[in-house]
């Protein structure tokens, strides 16, 4: 692991800003392992993030990196990828960043099927601003802006991505780190828009408000409520009621945006025929 840190991290920017017990460091290392596993060209790999706890990861990773504005990672990533399709473009975002303020960009990046991988650190809360509810905070949970429990229903972001047109969708957790690395690698290798939802614990802003303040208990909850795609097939809807499914949830082949645009260029240069 030390070798990976030396190779891929901006060590001079460490230690990171994340709280003790936060899962974001584990998720970030899973991304680094996936990049290493795929042996991606270091110079041709771009990391773009939005704003929030998870989005600070871009500053710790030694690539060309953009810490963009809140919710806007995908538009910036879209511009980079379309402008130079040779680049591997990876987006790091959080649940508030990606699905609230960036929700519109999220569905449209999926719809276009542009070859960008989005790694969504889902800690079910706005951590940076101190524990407000996000579109991925489960109903009835406490948040600093929902002191009596949330009444809003949450997105299943993987279902949303698939419905919007994403051609690769996977989910894993900070507990299931090997699987997380594996699905991130598959997502990056996939041609088209790919989403990996990484469930990660926020003991400080989510756990303390919801009576699970110990990081270990939050990790155990990830372990106990996760069911693999294969195992889920054998379970009844009742047995799956309080579970979530991890693994590759969806994969299909479809025309990729930048390749389609190359065809537009070819057509335009032939006089539109």
């Amino acid at each position: 692991m030390q070798k990976l840190v030396e190779k891929y991290y901006r060590s001079h920017n460490l230690p990171h800003i994340w709280c003790p017990g936060c899962g974001h460091g584990v998720v970030t290392m899973a991304l680094v392992k996936a990049i290493d596993k795929l042996n991606l060209d270091h110079d041709k790999t771009i990391i773009v993030s939005g704003i929030g706890c998870s989005s600070r990861a871009s500053g710790y990773l030694n690539f060309d990196t953009v810490h963009s504005a809140h919710g806007r990672a995908l538009p910036v990533a879209t511009g980079i990828k379309l402008s130079d399709p040779e680049l591997n473009v990876i987006v790091i975002s959080g649940d508030g960043d990606a699905t609230a303020i960036g929700g519109n960009h999220f569905i449209h990046a999926a719809r276009r099927n542009i070859n960008v991988t989005m790694l969504l650190y889902n800690n079910n809360i706005y951590g940076m601003t101190g524990g407000q509810y996000s579109p991925l905070t489960p109903v009835n949970c406490k948040a600093s802006t929902a002191p009596f429990g949330t009444i809003e229903r949450s997105f299943d972001i993987c279902d949303l991505a698939k419905s919007a047109g994403a051609t690769f969708v996977a989910r894993s957790t900070a507990f299931h780190t090997q699987m997380l690395t594996d699905v991130i690698a598959k997502a990056i290798a996939h041609k088209g828009f790919s989403l990996v939802e990484a469930l990660t614990q926020c003991p400080t802003s989510y756990g303390r408000q919801n009576k699970i303040p110990r990081p270990a208990d939050m990790l155990k909850a990830q372990r106990d409520h996760a069911v693999t795609v294969e195992a889920a097939k054998k379970l009844s809807p009742e047995q799956l009621a309080d579970k979530f499914i991890i693994g590759v949830l969806h994969q299909e082949e479809a025309p990729e945006y930048t390749e389609q645009y190359d065809l537009v260029i070819a057509k335009a240069q032939k006089g539109g025929k």
């Binding site: 901006r10 920017n13 270091h42 110079d43 041709k44 771009i46 773009v48 871009s58 500053g59 030694n62 690539f63 060309d64 990196t65 953009v66 810490h67 963009s68 504005a69 806007r72 995908l74 538009p75 910036v76 990533a77 879209t78 511009g79 980079i80 990828k81 379309l82 402008s83 130079d84 040779e86 680049l87 519109n104 960009h105 569905i107 449209h108 645009y261 537009v264 260029i265 057509k267 335009a268 240069q269």
Partner: protein
């Protein structure tokens, strides 16, 4: 060699961008600027460039920021409500020093306002629309040929000073058709290039003012420099640094990019000002009225001329100060309730009277209206203070 064509201002803006070497456009349809996007959608792929219609205005400027990082010359275009939405990432591009050209064709506001009617109500939004202290360059064309030349100039300034440049058009200029002489080939037009780093990749600091001109060299993404771009206040390494010292250094350098290069950035036209007693200050579509009104007034023996700011931001403060010692009265004409007039008054500082001819009813100021304002001004006594 050149060719003469009849063309709309919006079209000339798009052609100017192509002449300057634009390779990426990201935008969203909005009246009265949509023609720029439509032309780009057709012309960019013909030259191997990329066009994308994004899901909203913010995404449009977001995409061009990304494309600019890959070393391309980029454009987004908008109007009124879209200009409001773009302010968020305009500020991002200013503080991260990412070159881009933002064309905005002013229409009547606030809000949806009158989408097809002319206005010059976004003068102050162009200056202060995005939050926080920041420098900005905005150029205002007053003719179709100038839409072409000023768009090229916008790229020159944007790449040279590593900052966004606003092409602040108005509906009159954007939708007006007139004669324009264009080069047969854009190959003969010098393509502005941004300063690239010459240091070894390991030692590259993306915000280090190596040449002491306020403009740090900018590496292209994907070429191995591994640099970090953030909207947080940062030091010369590009990494967040919220210390008072780093904050002040960054703000001072950003502002100095303008204040140290005013001669290079400041463009203006003087029309029949040589012997003028009255100066009209007008810009964009309103300047077209002023040419006619001045000629009419001159026929009646009134010595009047025009100072036309072409660079609207930074404001031509020194030029207005000089003007105030040359003429005895200034009339500021604009299609809003009075925006640039306050900048003029600030520069004149009470030395001579400054009057306002404001029109904000969806219609352009007519030459007759402006002539009447000139006559009214001529008969009033200069103030005695």
């Amino acid at each position: 060699m050149s060719k003469v064509v009849l063309m709309q201002g919006n079209q000339a803006c798009a052609e100017g961008a192509l002449a300057a070497g634009v390779k990426f456009f990201g935008g969203y349809p909005i009246t009265p600027s949509t023609e720029i996007a439509e032309i780009m959608a057709k012309r960019l792929p013909q030259v191997g460039g990329k066009f994308i219609q994004m899901e909203d205005e913010i995404a449009g400027i977001g995409a061009v920021i990304g494309a600019s990082l890959t070393g391309k010359k980029v454009m987004t275009a908008t109007s009124g409500p879209g200009f409001s939405l773009k302010q968020e990432l305009l500020g991002y591009a200013i503080v991260t020093e990412i070159p881009l050209v933002l064309a905005t064709v002013q229409r009547v506001g606030p809000s949806t306002g009158q989408p097809t009617s002319p206005s010059q109500g976004d003068i102050m939004q162009a200056r202060w629309g995005t939050h926080g202290d920041h420098p900005i360059i905005a150029l205002t064309p007053a003719s179709v040929p100038e839409c072409f030349t000023l768009t090229i100039k916008a790229y020159e300034l944007s790449e040279k000073y590593r900052m966004p440049v606003i092409l602040l058009m108005d509906e009159i200029i954007g939708h007006m058709r007139e004669r324009i002489e264009l080069p047969d080939s854009y190959d003969e037009i010098v393509k502005p290039e941004r300063k690239k780093p010459t240091v070894p990749k390991e030692g590259y600091k993306p915000y280090h003012d190596v040449d002491a001109d306020g403009v740090p060299p900018m590496a292209t993404f994907g070429t191995g420099y591994h640099w970090h771009v953030t909207g947080l206040i940062h030091n010369e390494t590009g990494f967040p640094d919220g210390s008072p010292n780093a904050t002040k250094l960054l703000m001072d350098r950003l502002n100095a990019k303008i204040t140290d290069h005013l001669d290079d950035i400041m463009m203006y036209e003087e029309y029949r000002l040589e012997d003028a007693d009255i100066a009209i200050v007008a810009y964009g579509g309103t300047a077209r009225t002023a040419y006619a009104a001045i000629d009419m007034a001159r026929e009646q023996g009134i010595k009047v001329g025009m100072f036309r700011p072409i660079t609207i931001w930074p404001f031509a403060e020194a030029q207005i100060v000089a003007l105030a010692s040359k003429v005895s009265k200034i009339l500021v004409a604009e299609m809003n309730c009075g925006q640039l007039v306050d900048e003029v008054k600030k520069a004149v500082n009470g030395k001579i009277p400054v009057e306002l001819l404001a029109k904000y009813n969806n219609e352009a100021i007519t030459p007759k209206e402006m002539l009447q304002a000139i006559i009214n001004l001529e008969v009033t006594e200069p103030c005695k203070n």
